[in-house]
Amino acid sequence: MFHWLEKHPFFFSVGVFLVIAFAGLVEILPSFAQASRPVIGTKPYSILETTGRQIYIKNSCNACHSQLIRPFKSETDRYGHYSLSGEYAYDRPFLWGSKRTGPDLMRVGNYRTTDWHESHMKDPSGVVPGSVMPAYRWMYSNIADIPTAYAEQLTNAQFFSVPYNEPIPMKDGTTEVVKMANNVTDAHAMALAEAKEIAVDMKDQNVKDAVARGEIPEIVALIAYLNSLK
């Protein structure tokens, strides 16, 4: 075998490559797999948060806002703890972004609240003087697409084993369960229940009326998603 390899340099090179590649896999893969596991406290997205995430993507929020805090003192002072790879475990696709025209949103749920998002999305420069962010007024009348979000949730649960309806360990030692519906009708009911909690803190009467009627405007879903970013 070795004698034969010595006489065939091409196959010898292939063999060397395979041995080194194997060594590399053994070294790299375990720590890579360890780092990509969800960190304690990272939860899958609920139905309304998933809907909001789709709206976030649909409106290209990630073109101007990153979701990745780098380990620099100046960034952690402004945005909170630097990002860990395990925190993206349930992000498909992740929304790191590549440019910060606006601020990072990785942990925006920690320092902004529902009523602030409501007035900000309606008129950004009214809250932040000099802001170049456009207003997203249609989100207050457009109705969110719950069935598509439910389809995404279903895919995540079935193909990527995202642990819905299972206890998720939290930082304080307790566990939380993120529920997923069995069918689209239930999913809509669950989303509406979440939307009602958000609408309580909102002021726009049209949005409140819509939620009371059983419709979910896009802004409610988006705020649910932004509040979940922690």
Binding site: F72, K73, T114, D115, V127
Partner: protein
């Protein structure tokens, strides 16, 4: 002529031709720029030197023969010269071994670079500098620091002038607006400020001891305006009868019972920054990431605003 030199000249000519083509036959050319000329001169000399150095070594490989005294041993006809190890090579070899030992024992385990390690060092250095520079500041300097923190963290909701941007957040230039007082009386308050464990009851738990009955709409209106006016005007009797039991007759609050409704205090602001609060306008998040001195400074600034 040696075939090698011929190849050398051909390759040199091609490279120089390509250089000439890219510089002089395209738009712009040298543009009379001394830096461009230097770069071209460098490129030309690099091409010529490289080609002829390569030729020299290839010729040496073709014609060189090994020299020296052969050792006695032979392995299948392969012999070995008794030449000494070149001194430079030996020194480099020894240094490499020493470096290797240092790297395995001290270099890698102790001095390895990591991004997070650098971040931790940065943060520690920054915090130490902050401590040494700002640990003892008081008075106007503390208020100035509070203002700068306010402009970085608080102004997105409370506005540049701390006026709450048309009711989108609390106006911090006054302790409480009438509608804020009214909301608290009607809905109660459960913000656990200043370690007070007892939540404030809603209007169904607030008796006016002057009349012996639950507080009425008219009384709520008048006492709200009284508090919003800085504890002056009509309504003092309602305040004494209903609110003073916990908030004190002057409205300055009681320790572990109720916060001051007459003035801000740094402790009150720090407490809100630590826990956030939910009131008539909406929810304010907690600002845990500010350090203790920064919270104190914001407290001093906000207290100063409503003086």
């Amino acid at each position: 002529m040696n075939k090698l030199y011929l190849w050398g000249i051909i390759i040199t000519a091609i490279m120089l031709g390509a250089t000439y083509y890219t510089i002089f036959l395209t738009k712009g050319g040298l543009n009379g720029d001394i830096v461009n000329m230097l770069a071209i001169a460098g490129a030309i000399s690099l091409v010529i030197i490289t080609v002829f150095v390569v030729i020299k070594y290839v010729r040496q490989m073709q014609s060189d023969t090994a020299q020296g005294q052969l050792a006695d041993e032979q392995w299948d006809g392969i012999g070995e010269y008794l030449n000494d190890l070149p001194m430079g090579w030996a020194i480099a070899f020894l240094l490499t071994m020493i470096w290797g030992m240092w790297y395995f024992t001290i270099g890698y385990p102790v001095n390895a670079y990591s991004q997070i390690g650098e971040y931790n060092e940065d943060s520690a250095a920054h915090n130490a500098k902050f401590e040494s520079k700002y640990a003892d500041i008081t008075g106007d300097r503390l208020i100035d620091m509070g203002k700068s923190v306010f402009l970085a963290e608080c102004k997105v909701c409370h506005g540049l002038n701390a006026d709450g941007i048309d009711g989108k957040a609390a106006d911090l230039n006054v302790r409480m607006e009438a509608n804020v007082v009214k909301f608290a009386i009607e809905n109660g308050s459960n913000n656990h400020l200043l370690g007070s464990e007892m939540p404030m009851p809603d209007r169904n738990g607030l008796f006016n001891s002057n009349t012996g009955a639950l507080i009425t709409d008219a009384e709520i209106d008048v006492v709200s305006k009284y508090v919003a006016n800085g504890m002056s005007g009509a309504g003092a009797d309602v305040f004494v009868g209903t609110c003073a039991a916990c908030h004190g007759e002057d409205g300055k609050g009681m320790e572990y019972v109720a916060p001051s409704v007459a003035t801000f205090s740094p402790e009150l602001v720090t407490n809100i920054l630590n826990h956030g609060k939910k009131g008539s306008i909406g929810q304010m998040p907690a600002f845990d990431r500010l350090n203790a001195k920064q919270k104190e400074a914001v407290g001093a600034y906000v207290t100063d605003l409503s003086k």
